[in-house]
Structure formats: structure tokens, C-alpha cells
């Protein structure tokens, strides 16, 4: 499991750059060496799906299983019911 919600498959990425344009959080940049998109600031991914929606090669996957440390759950409090 990756530490960030977003991952990009370099094998299928064509380097079109649309995901870089789409990302509101500046998570993705083009990697000059490989000519492909690269997750540079993965910790800032807000799981908004804008990059995934725009990727023509379906190279982007987003995980639902990364918890957001800035979010607090009342159910985690002592005596929490679930």
C-alpha cells in the first residue's frame, strides 16, 4: 500500500500533462527525465478525483484507505461507540 492516496502508473502514462493541469493541490508535476507525470507532493492530495477524471490513459488510481490526519472523529473519543 502506498503512503499517499494517489499513485500514477508510469507504464501506461503517456505524459500528456492533463493531470498536472487538473490538480488543485499541486500534487503532480511532470518529470523532466522520464517525460511522465510524477507524484511530488503526495501528502497534499485531497482525493478530489479531478486528475483521475482527466487522465485519458487511466493511469491514475486513488485509494480510499488513506486516513486524513487533520480530520478528527468523535467516534475515536474515549467511550466512542464505534
Amino acid at each position: 500500500m502506498s503512503v499517499h492516496a494517489i499513485s500514477i502508473d508510469p507504464a501506461t502514462c503517456t505524459g500528456c500533462g492533463l493531470c498536472v493541469l487538473a490538480c488543485p493541490a499541486d500534487v503532480i508535476r511532470m518529470d523532466a527525465a522520464s517525460g511522465k507525470a510524477k507524484v511530488v507532493y503526495g501528502g497534499d492530495c485531497q482525493v478530489c478525483y479531478l486528475c483521475e477524471d482527466d487522465c485519458p490513459a487511466h493511469s491514475i488510481s486513488l485509494s480510499h484507505d488513506i486516513t486524513n490526519p487533520r480530520r478528527y472523529s468523535i467516534y475515536d473519543e474515549p467511550g466512542g461507540t464505534f
Binding site: 482525493v47 480530520r71 472523529s73 468523535i74 467516534y75 461507540t81
Partner: protein, 584 residues
């Protein structure tokens, strides 16, 4: 060595490219002004507008606007400028026609007419559902075609004042910022500047992370008058099973979603038997808190009764990745799922820069629109769909006023050396030795202030002082916090703005010695008619100056029968004494 400064000239500068900023740009360009639109991300793929649930107020020519206005005004406790209420409804009627004409996908009934439903919190007012991202893409296409200059990925750090003072006695003559890829510093010298930077919020808790209230903080530093900042406290049901993003609560309840406690009881029946989960969000969240505090949690969202169009629209009008049918959670068509709200800095119009009917702020040359501005059309309670309606309509007016006024205005240049000073200040964290905390840490510390919904909703002097201390602690750490690169520098500036906004919110809350609508102080649980007014705040340079201002009599068609007094609604719900607002 500071880098070069690029200077651009424009009639109208728009900061922020959500609905407010793009409508402002479109209107100003249509009136012949040269327009520059700046966004820290890519216009059409950023902000709350793109990410919103897609409900918007939907008045049609055949509707009785008096009925709608009256409902907005009464439900908002008359705490508004009623001329704005009419301006909002009449403007929105035209904006809906634009969406239809442009072919923006809208949810439709079998006969092809727009499918409308009662907006949450309302009985007569109707909303519709459409695809916000498609609307944003169309708006971008249209403003590009009109010749609007778009600067994507430029983060604005400060408004520029003609006298070089903060707070200023002069006019606003543009803004400065940097390109987040190249670091190029830019001064956009403008005749009129429109702040359309979106919501005041913590970064990370709501997942619309670019809306850190930058424009509100910048305008405040420059001398802008903010109102009702304590009403920034708000939130919605957005967390499913402790960690997943629940798609729009407003959409779900419009289609029949229910909330039930661990015993399977639909607890809103006790508090608001007519509107139930569709009542004021603050009341529903308070009822949630009561269930938790009294040991009847968890609370479940029950989607077993929603109409079929909920599921079809979810697939059609929402972003593909909605968690609900992803297989990651038990099938919500048969299983109620634990849900919870967040409550904290989250203002979609209940607070912000005060604007007049032409979207002007108190500062010469500065206008505001969208959720950076106080929505004076709807008062203490806004229905689902009205924030986006207000963003469009206030943007439209801001663009019009700015374009017309810029015809009679000359560009005023900045005092000698001022822009270089602003550049040095803005980029200083890049040259600093790495300190104890990073910009991310500052945001972690700020987000932690929101914590439990119960603690964020039940305020008191002690609790507010604790929060204030937390905000000041972050503000005090800024000067020792370095930015590793330009990406980090954006976050540093955001932390500066969030901590300032948080301080203003908490201080405003301390100043308000009553409880009203979504604002609840345990130590002042009663609603005090002496607070039936706008609560203004400005920077004096040394501190904050508060004021109270009466609502305008002019254009007021509906008058309250009596002023509210007695227990505020949240306190009433907590003590099971709530009397829901009468059905209109």
C-alpha cells in the same frame, strides 16, 4: 538576491477563479474592461465551486419571488439587506437561464423540465441539481474567448495599498504574488480589484484545501471591514465511517436520506417534525451532538429510503469516485452507515467582507464576491444552493461595478520601493533556516483546534480563549518557520492567513455575548435583541475594533413581528426545548 518583478496593468483584477471570480471576469469583460484573473491553481479545476455538491437555487419566471424572498428573510431571522435578497433571486433566475442555454448538464424530470426540489432548510424555495465542474469548464472557455488574461498557479500574497500602509487610508491598487512553479514575482496594478478567494476554512479538514480565506485576511490587513466573523463557525455531515468523504449531505437529504441513532430512532422527529433532517444544519448538527453526548451514538445515515434519482444522479452528475457505491463501504442501499459532521471554520457567506449592492467593500478600489464576502441576501440561515447562487450573482455585480468604475479611473502607481519590500517579505520564508515547525505542522496545529464537533459547537469564554491561544501560537511561530520550496511557501502564506482569520473569528465570538442561530455560547445561552445587527470588525494596526450596525430600513419589505429572545436554538436542542420555526 531577490528576483525580477513583473508588472502587469489591468482595468480589473480578479483574485480567485471559482464561480464568483469567473462570473465577475465574464461580466467585466462583456462591458469592455481589460480583465486579469489570477488563481493559485488552474481556473475551472479549483475551489469550492468545482467541488460543490451541485445544488443551486432555481427560481424560474413563473415563481412568485415575494414568496421566496420572504422565506429567505424570515428563515434568516431578518438579519440581512432585503434589497440583496431580491437582487440575488432576480440575478439567479438569469444565471439559471445561462446554464440552460450553455448546455450545462442539469438533472431533469421525465418530461424534460428541470427537476426541482425543496432546498434544505426551506419549504417554498426550490433548488436544482447540475454538474458544477461542467459549469466551471464552460465559464473558463467563455472568459478565454472574451480575452480575459488568466494567470493560473499564481498565489496572491498581499493587496497593494496606494499609501503603502496596512491598514490603509488610501485605495487598493492591485495585488502581488508569485508563480508557484517559477517563483516569478508579479505586481498586477489595477484600477479595481475583486477579492473572490472563497471560503474561510482550515486547510485539510474539508478537502477544498485552496480555500484558506486568503482574500479575507489580506483585505483585513489592508483595512477591510469584516462582519459577523463568529458566524464562521459551521459545518456539515461529511465524514462517513470515520474516514471517508460523504458526498453532499444537502443532496442526500433532498432525496430522502435520514439520520438515525444507534436505537434506530429518527431523532430529528423530536426537534423539527416538518423539515426533519432538512432543517437548519446547525440544528441538525446540535441534535447529532446531543445523541452522542447522551450515549445514543453512533448516528447513521440511512439511504434505504432515497428515491431512485439519487442513485442515477450520483453516477451521472457526481465525480466518478463517489465512495458510496465503490464497494469500499457496505452497500448503503441496504445498510445504514455511521456518519458525523465537522464543525469549525466553514463560512459560505455567513461571514466575510461586507459588500454593498454593487459588491463594493469599505476600501476604495476593492470589491468582493462569493464566499469571501458576507452574503447579505440570506441572513443567519442560508438554504442549500444559495451559496453558489450568491457566488454567481455577487460576482456578476462585482464585475459590472468594477468595469463601469474603471472607465472613470486612472491607474494609480505604487509608492517607490513598496513592491520590492512586499516581494522580500513574501519570499522571506524561503531564505530562512529550517526551524522547529514546518508549514505543514502549522496547518496540523490549526486543524487540531477544530477537534470534536461537540467542543467546537459548545463555546464559552474559557474554550474561546483556548482556541485563541492556539491561533496566536501559530501566528507567533510564522517568523521562525521556513519554506523548503515554492510549494511549501504557498502553505506558509496559507497558514499566515488561516491563523489570522481564526484569531478574528475567536475574538469576534468572545465579543458576542449571546447565542443566536448556529452560534452557541454556553455562558451566554440566551438570544439578546441587542445583537440584532451586523457585527463589524476592522484592524486598527494595533488590534481589532468592533462595531454594531443596524440593518437597513430601505427596501425592507418584511418586518419581524418581534425580536428573538430566550434560549438560542442550539441550547434549546441540547436541553430538548427546541421549538422549530413555524411553517410559513
Amino acid at each position: 538576491m531577490p528576483g525580477s518583478i513583473e508588472v502587469l496593468h489591468t482595468d480589473v483584477l480578479v483574485i480567485g477563479g471559482g464561480f464568483a471570480g469567473t462570473w465577475a471576469s465574464l461580466r467585466a469583460a462583456d462591458l469592455g474592461a481589460s480583465v486579469t484573473l489570477v488563481d493559485k491553481a488552474y481556473v475551472s479545476k479549483s475551489g469550492a465551486s468545482t467541488m460543490s455538491g451541485g445544488i443551486t437555487t432555481c427560481p424560474l419566471d413563473t415563481d412568485d419571488m415575494d414568496l421566496w424572498a420572504r422565506e429567505f428573510i424570515e428563515r434568516g431571522d431578518y438579519m440581512c439587506d432585503q434589497r440583496w435578497t431580491y437582487q440575488l433571486l432576480e440575478g439567479q433566475r438569469e444565471r439559471v437561464k445561462d446554464y440552460v442555454r450553455w448546455g450545462v448538464p442539469i438533472s431533469r424530470a421525465e418530461d424534460g423540465s428541470i427537476r426541482r426540489f425543496a432546498s434544505r432548510g426551506m419549504i417554498d424555495v426550490r433548488g436544482m441539481q447540475y454538474q458544477p465542474k461542467a459549469a466551471m469548464i464552460e465559464l473558463r472557455r467563455r472568459i478565454v474567448a472574451r480575452g480575459v488574461r488568466i494567470l493560473d498557479r499564481v498565489h496572491i500574497t498581499e493587496l497593494v495599498t496606494a499609501d503603502g500602509q496596512w491598514p490603509s487610508n488610501g485605495a487598493i491598487i492591485g495585488a502581488v504574488g508569485f508563480n508557484i512553479y517559477t517563483g516569478q514575482f508579479v505586481f498586477i496594478n489595477a484600477k479595481r480589484t475583486i477579492v473572490a478567494t472563497g471560503m474561510i476554512a482550515m486547510k485539510g479538514t474539508h478537502r477544498v484545501d485552496n480555500d484558506t480565506g486568503d482574500g479575507v485576511a489580506m483585505a483585513f490587513r489592508a483595512g477591510g471591514r469584516l462582519v459577523d466573523m463568529e458566524f464562521t463557525f459551521g459545518g456539515t455531515f461529511n465524514v462517513l465511517m470515520k474516514k471517508f468523504d460523504f458526498p453532499s449531505y444537502n443532496v442526500a437529504v433532498a432525496h430522502g436520506a435520514r439520520l438515525i441513532n444507534a436505537r434506530g430512532e429518527r431523532f430529528m422527529e423530536q426537534h423539527d417534525p416538518v423539515r426533519l433532517e432538512r432543517g437548519e444544519l446547525s440544528n441538525v448538527v446540535a441534535a447529532f451532538a446531543k445523541e452522542i453526548v447522551e450515549g445514543r451514538g453512533p448516528v447513521f445515515v440511512d439511504l434505504r429510503h432515497v428515491d431512485a434519482s439519487y442513485w442515477t444522479d450520483l453516477a451521472k452528475l457526481h465525480r466518478g469516485g463517489s465512495i458510496l457505491l465503490s464497494g469500499h463501504v457496505p452497500d448503503p442501499r441496504v445498510n445504514p452507515l455511521p456518519i458525523e459532521p465537522t464543525w469549525g471554520l466553514w463560512a459560505s457567506g455567513r461571514s466575510g467582507l461586507q459588500i454593498d449592492l454593487g459588491a463594493r467593500t469599505n476600501l476604495p478600489g476593492l470589491l468582493a464576491a462569493g464566499s469571501a464576502a458576507k452574503n447579505d441576501a440570506t441572513g443567519t440561515h442560508a438554504s442549500a444552493g444559495s451559496p453558489t447562487a450568491f457566488a454567481k450573482v455577487s460576482g456578476w455585480h462585482a464585475g459590472e461595478t468594477a468595469a463601469l468604475e474603471s472607465r472613470q479611473t486612472d491607474l494609480e502607481s505604487a509608492p517607490q520601493g513598496l513592491i520590492a519590500m512586499l516581494q522580500e517579505k513574501a519570499l522571506a520564508p524561503l531564505n530562512r533556516a529550517r526551524g522547529e515547525r514546518s508549514a505543514d505542522r502549522l496547518h496540523d496545529d490549526l486543524a487540531r483546534l477544530e477537534s470534536s464537533v461537540v467542543k467546537s459547537m459548545i463555546l464559552s469564554e474559557g474554550r474561546l480563549n483556548e482556541l485563541l491561544q492556539g491561533a496566536r501560537d501559530v501566528a507567533g511561530a510564522l517568523d521562525q518557520t521556513a519554506a523548503g520550496d515554492l510549494h511549501d511557501l504557498v502553505k506558509w502564506h496559507e497558514a499566515r492567513n488561516v491563523s489570522l482569520n481564526a484569531e478574528i473569528v475567536y475574538r469576534s465570538a468572545l465579543d458576542r455575548t449571546e447565542s443566536r442561530e448556529q452560534f452557541y455560547r454556553e455562558d451566554f445561552p440566551m438570544t439578546d435583541p441587542g445583537w440584532f445587527c451586523w457585527h463589524g470588525v476592522k484592524s486598527t494596526g494595533e488590534g481589532l475594533a468592533f462595531d454594531k450596525q443596524a440593518f437597513p430600513q430601505e427596501g425592507a419589505r418584511f418586518l419581524p413581528e418581534h425580536q428573538h429572545s430566550g434560549l438560542g436554538p442550539i441550547g434549546a436542542i441540547m436541553s430538548a426545548k427546541h421549538q422549530p420555526a413555524k411553517a410559513l
